[in-house]
């Protein structure tokens, strides 16, 4: 999943769960049924899980651009130089 996808997933998850909660309370209170409220919320939570947890392709529409391997060879990694003058000695 790319960065844009991760942001989308987080927003979708929160919105879906909050909306299922609100709808569950509203319908449960109107129908005077505690069981209805719990069922609606459970269904909403399962739906949110199916939409946000698996790595769907539409979350990967802005893929990260990694450096091409042939380009990387032209610019070698800098070496760390250890100077003998900088040796730490106790007296």
């Amino acid at each position: 999943m790319d960065w844009q996808g991760q942001k989308l997933v987080e927003q979708l998850m929160q919105i879906l769960l909050v909306i299922s909660g609100v709808v569950a309370v509203a319908v449960g209170y109107a129908t005077e049924s505690f069981r209805t409220m719990m069922l609606i919320y459970a269904a909403g939570a399962v739906l949110a899980t199916l939409i946000t947890v698996p790595n769907w392709p539409f979350y990967n529409r802005h893929p990260l651009k990694w450096l091409d391997p042939s380009e990387a060879e032209k610019h070698p990694k800098p070496q760390v130089v250890v100077s003998s003058k900088k040796k730490f000695s106790k007296r």
Partner: protein, 186 residues
Amino acid sequence: MHSFGYRANALLTFAVTILAFICAIASFSDNFSKQTPSAQIQLFRSLILLDSDVCGGKPVKILNINWFQKQPHGNDEVSLTLNITADLQSLYTWNTKQVFAFVAAEYETSKNSLNQVSLWDAIIPEKEHAKFWIQISNKYRFIDQGHNLRGKDFNLTLHWHVMPKTGKMFADKIVMSGYRLPDAYR
């Protein structure tokens, strides 16, 4: 949100938090229900020297006092037959699991300013059963701490606890006064 486990954990935590909010809202909605319970408890007047004029105008009447004795250890004990009529249906909301109702006899003695003796109780899970008429002798023994019951005036109080599916439990009572025990053992 970069891995499956991360997303699953975040979703589970948030879902449980929202569930807690839902239950709190459901419990809070109980404050808005209008409650109008009513009750009557009756005793016969035929066998007892009750002041019939006093009891005539009141909704509460004692049915029958079966026996009234002094135990070998010195404590008074009474057996009563109660006729309980109650309508507790308005206490039920969508968030009610059951209603626990009990009848207690309350009186004052020189030793204790308030004595409460539970005589009968019931658990009522369904609204349909909350409007009832029952005639029974007391389920639990009415024993005094001492021998103070002769000629004693007492109240019969119907208490109830509305137990919710989630959240706060409400309790209240109806006090019915005007009952009196006989002046002599029998």
